[in-house]
Each structure stands twice: as structure tokens, then as C-alpha cells.
């Protein structure tokens, strides 16, 4: 049995269904609107509906053969992700940029260099490191380490990250944005050199999934 993990709700799920259906693998939800169960019209293929954030882990563990999720989530949640999963196809939707944003009123901060200097002064004056709210801990930390930003700390934020600055639980944020509207509405601006990752929805294959059946299914999806 080939297991395919698909995000369990929202636009991402619908677009994933459309993508597979357009390639001859019809997918749909089954049961009631609220029930997390789905159906795929193919022998020997099972649809597994999961939170997009859990799909990387399930792929790494080999409990699903294929999975659709954001490239941001795979890179953030899996160490050495290229060894654990492979990218099969970019699905052409779910585009978002992972960036760092600070209050628009910070007229002295436009770049990472500025952020680093501001963090140094902030720590001296306020007695703690400059806090950056995010749920992408690995990606953000690796990015800031590679540039050499110091005197910051990451604070976890699993939702409404744009509000953390106003709520005084962080001084800056690192989050995904597509249009930037939510950032602007919350009086934040993007640092000009802080594009950490351009993410989109991708079909991944687990490195532990090596069967010929999966090879055949992937050939079918690619029209081969």
C-alpha cells in the first residue's frame, strides 16, 4: 500500500487534490465536512490527511511514502533534510517568503547589519537579548548565525506572530508572508536582505520509500 500524506484542511488541501486529480489521481474528502478522512481513486494507494507541520516527520519516519507540504516546513523540521526526503515536484502554489520584519517606526534599521547593531544596544539598555518571535527556529537561527547576528534570542510563536511586537513579547518577527499585507497592517516592515527562504508547496518522497510501485506511481503523475 502506497501512502500519500496531504494537508488536512483549507486551501492547501483543495489545491493538492486539484493537482493530483489533474494528473489522473482523483482525490476527495470522504465522510462529513469535518471528518479527517479522504479517498483516492486508485488501487493500492491510501490517502492520509495530516497537519502540514507533521508531514515532514511522517516522511522522515517512512510512515508515508509521499507527502505534500511546504518546503519551509521540511527544511525547518528535518536535520539534513536532503538525506531524509527528496523533492519530487513543485506544485506551483502555496508560495510564501520567510523573512524578518521589524516595526516600521525603526527608521534606523533596514538590514541585518542594522538589526545586529540594534540588538547589541538593546541588550545593554534593556538587560535582555532582542527577541525574535518565530515558529521556524532552525531556519531562522541558521540564517542569523551564517550572517553573524548576535545578542538576539528566538521566542516561540505558533500563530498571530505579527502581533507579538505590539504585545511586548518580542521586538521583531521571522515569519512567512506572501503579499505583506498582514505585516503592513501590524506596522511592520521587512528587512531588505532578510529573505531566508522562498517556500512553496512540494511533493516529497521519503528516503525510506524505495518500492517499484512508488516509482510507477510517480511516473504516472509526471505523465510518463
Amino acid at each position: 500500500m502506497i501512502k500519500i500524506g496531504v494537508p488536512s484542511k483549507g486551501r492547501l488541501m483543495e489545491q493538492t487534490f486539484e493537482w493530483f486529480s489533474a494528473r489522473g489521481l482523483k482525490m476527495q474528502k470522504s465522510g462529513s465536512e469535518r471528518e479527517y478522512s479522504g479517498h483516492v481513486a486508485a488501487e493500492g494507494v491510501e490517502l492520509v490527511l495530516l497537519s502540514a507541520g507533521e508531514i515532514p516527520r511522517e516522511l522522515a519516519a517512512g510512515r508515508i511514502d509521499l507527502g505534500v507540504t511546504g518546503s519551509d516546513l521540511v527544511r525547518d523540521k528535518l536535520a539534513d533534510w536532503q538525506v531524509q526526503v527528496s523533492e519530487v515536484a513543485a506544485l506551483g502554489f502555496g508560495h510564501a517568503d520567510l523573512i524578518i520584519a521589524v516595526p516600521a517606526a525603526w527608521i534606523d534599521v533596514d538590514t541585518l547589519d542594522d538589526l545586529d547593531a540594534a540588538a547589541a544596544a538593546f541588550r545593554v539598555r534593556h538587560g535582555h537579548r532582542l527577541r525574535i518571535a518565530t515558529k521556524y527556529h532552525r531556519l531562522v537561527r541558521d540564517f542569523l548565525t551564517a550572517y553573524g547576528v548576535a545578542d538576539y534570542q528566538l521566542v516561540d510563536s505558533q500563530g498571530a506572530t505579527e502581533a507579538t511586537v505590539k504585545n511586548l513579547t518580542a521586538e521583531a518577527i521571522a515569519d512567512i508572508t506572501s503579499s505583506g499585507e498582514t505585516l503592513r497592517a501590524n506596522h511592520l516592515k521587512v528587512l531588505s536582505d532578510s529573505l531566508i527562504l522562498q517556500s512553496q508547496a512540494m511533493l516529497f518522497r521519503s528516503a525510506l520509500s524505495t518500492s517499484a510501485e512508488v516509482d510507477a506511481l510517480l511516473r504516472r503523475l509526471s505523465g510518463g
Partner: protein, 362 residues
């Protein structure tokens, strides 16, 4: 891990040797309050250490090294001078698949002594070299103190020196700043635009035009940095010969005696390094007296810049191809001041990794 008994026996042998060298054995908790370590090392340590949550004590960390708890214990109730040794597990997350262990033994030796730093440096290095005699490992030493002294002596603003010193442990960023401060790199476009904008009004007016104040970073913080940026824009570049000397120092690699001769040769152009170079000379003399062949011992001025940011003087390691260093250490005077709440004591020490030693011998 079939080798564990052999590794533990190796650790015990080294631990006994450290005691025979006059060190008092000390214990440290495995579960340490995370706050002190996070405050010292920042996010880097969170990526490398196991952090867990205790329902009563808050964030705790599995011991990532012994230095901090040993220094804390010494600052709280230590004799002066003191020599300590320890043996136990440390825990480090591995971010890459492979066979690097995330739990391994460290056996260490630390000297807290005000009297003669050069003697203490040589004592630690010679002890380690003796214990590792015959082991296929390449000894190398360095001195972060010389780099720091060179930065402190630059003919530039206190702000620029502070920025360079703050990044002395981040070679890439340090170089980027030095390139900018010495005029080798052009002012980035974003900075030029920022300066133009700052010139169009008072910080307060620009801030209120830019957006509402949100968050803890206040108008004064922003105005202060804006003023600093304007001051910096008017600062003359670090002179080319001075910058060249610093670049030369960053890349200096030579046998220790030859490195000393080179440093002596450039001291007249960088007089601020004279005391640090004298320390280096005294250390070499003390090492020679202990039978270390300093004519051949490799020296790299920047050794230890990329590890945990606390070494501020002598550094050393015993490197093994394809494995982590079998031993490493250095001087961390400033760390004792940070942890000593107003008090400080010169300190130097190092650790050996018995598991690497067993692998090298196999």
C-alpha cells in the same frame, strides 16, 4: 556502544593523572539552569544543547560543558589559587546525520591562579601534551588576546572598536565589519539610503512619519542609534597600513617561535599589542622550560575564534584528522568576571575527550 568500558577506563586514567598533577576533583550537576548558559552563549547554545522544561525550575539544560558550572562553583566558594579536575558526560545535539556522538565523556583540568598566567598556560598545555604523548594528534596553539589588543589599539572610534570586539568570535562578520571600517568595502546601498533619509529630519519626526511606536524598543533607542549612524558616517576609515596589519594577524600561521619573531617585528607599527606579545613570549619561555618544542609547535593567531565565545587569551587544541579535536582549551579570564558578579580571577583549562582518544588509538 561496545567501547564504553574502554572509554570510561581511559577517562578514569586521565582523571587520576589530573589529580596527581594537583587538581581537586569536583562534580557538576548534569541538569543546569538554562538561563545562565543562554545568557552567555545566546541562540548558538540552544542549537547545540538539549533544553528541557522543569515544571518548577523552568528551562533546564543538559550540561553542554563543565566550564560554566566549575567557574560558578569556584566563584561562589573556591580557594585562591585552585586547581580542579572533573570527569563526566556532556551532551550536544548533532545537526547532521553521522556518527558524531551526542553524549560523550569529557575529562578536564582548570587552573584559577592570579600569580603567573604564562606559567599556568604552560602548565596546562604541558600536562596535556604529556598525557597525549605518542597519540596521533596535531597540537596547535593560538592567542585571542593578541587579536583583541590589536583591535583595541586601532586608530578609530570606540564604537567601531566595540563592534569589532563583539564579533571577534565570528570571523566572517568580523571581516565584513573590518572591510567596511577600513574602506575596502563600499558603503552598502541600503545604508547610504538610510543615511540620506536620516538627514531629512529629526529622528522623532521621522519615526512618527514612519509608523506608530510598537514594542519595547523605544524612541530613545532609535534616536540614539540614528545619531550613532550619522557619527559613524563621518568617521574616517581605518588607515590602510593599520588594517593590513590586522588582516595579517588574522591569517597568521607559523611555528610558535617564528610567529613570535614576526609579531615582534610588527609591534612597532601596532604598539597596543606589545603587552599581549610579551605574554606570548613569556608563555613560550615557560613552555620551553617544561620541555615543549616551541620551535616546531604550530601557532594560529585566530585559533578558538569559532568555538564558544569565551576564550580571550591563550588557546590550544590537539587535532585529529576526520574526528573532533581530542583535546582543547584556553584562557577565559573575562568569563570569570561575567559569572563572578563583580569578582574575577584569571583562569585557564582544557578538556580531553576519552572517546576520541580510544578511536585514535584503535
Amino acid at each position: 556502544m561496545t567501547q564504553k568500558p574502554a572509554i570510561r577506563a581511559e577517562g578514569a586514567r586521565l582523571f587520576a593523572a589530573f589529580q596527581a598533577a594537583g587538581a581537586v576533583p569536583v562534580e557538576a550537576d548534569i541538569l543546569l539552569p538554562a538561563e545562565t548558559l543562554l545568557d552567555l552563549y545566546g541562540e548558538d547554545i540552544r542549537a547545540r544543547a538539549y533544553v528541557t522544561t522543569d515544571p518548577l525550575q523552568g528551562e533546564m539544560m543538559l550540561r553542554p560543558d563543565f566550564t560554566v558550572p566549575v567557574v560558578q562553583a569556584h566563584m561562589a566558594h573556591g580557594a585562591d589559587p585552585a586547581r580542579y579536575c572533573y570527569l563526566g558526560e556532556v551532551f550536544r545535539k548533532q545537526e547532521h546525520l553521522g556518527n558524531r556522538p551526542s553524549e560523550y565523556l569529557q575529562v578536564g583540568f582548570e587552573v584559577f591562579d592570579r600569580a603567573a598566567p604564562a606559567e599556568a598556560d604552560a602548565e596546562v598545555f604541558a600536562l596535556f601534551a604529556g598525557l597525549l604523548d605518542g597519540v596521533r594528534a596535531r597540537p596547535v596553539m593560538g592567542d585571542i588576546g593578541i587579536l583583541m589588543a590589536a583591535v583595541q589599539g586601532l586608530d578609530t572610534t570606540a564604537r567601531r572598536k566595540a563592534a569589532l570586539l563583539r564579533h571577534i568570535w565570528r570571523p566572517g562578520r568580523f571581516r565584513q565589519l573590518l572591510d567596511r571600517f577600513s574602506g575596502r568595502a563600499a558603503v552598502p546601498e541600503a545604508r547610504a539610503a538610510l543615511l540620506e533619509r536620516l538627514a531629512t529630519g529629526t529622528p522623532e519626526a521621522l519615526i512618527s512619519a514612519a509608523g506608530p511606536m510598537i514594542g519595547m524598543r523605544a524612541v530613545e533607542d532609535i534616536a540614539e542609534r540614528a545619531a550613532a549612524l550619522i557619527e559613524d558616517a563621518g568617521t574616517k576609515p581605518i588607515a590602510a597600513p593599520e588594517a593590513a596589519l590586522l588582516y595579517d594577524l588574522l591569517g597568521l600561521q607559523a611555528p610558535a617561535e617564528a610567529a613570535l619573531a614576526h609579531l615582534r617585528g610588527i609591534t612597532f607599527m601596532l604598539p597596543s599589542i606589545a603587552p599581549a606579545v610579551d605574554n606570548f613570549a613569556a608563555r613560550l619561555e615557560a613552555l620551553r622550560a617544561r620541555g615543549v618544542d616551541v620551535a616546531r609547535l604550530p601557532f594560529q593567531a585566530g585559533l578558538g575564534r569559532t568555538t564558544m565565545e569565551y576564550y580571550d587569551g591563550f588557546t590550544f587544541s590537539f587535532d585529529v584528522e576526520g574526528l573532533p579535536a581530542v583535546a582543547s582549551g584556553g584562557r577565559y579570564d573575562a568569563l570569570t568576571a561575567v559569572l563572578g558578579q563583580g569578582r574575577s580571577i584569571p583562569a585557564v583549562g582544557g578538556v580531553i575527550r576519552p572517546e576520541v582518544l580510544v578511536q585514535v588509538r584503535a
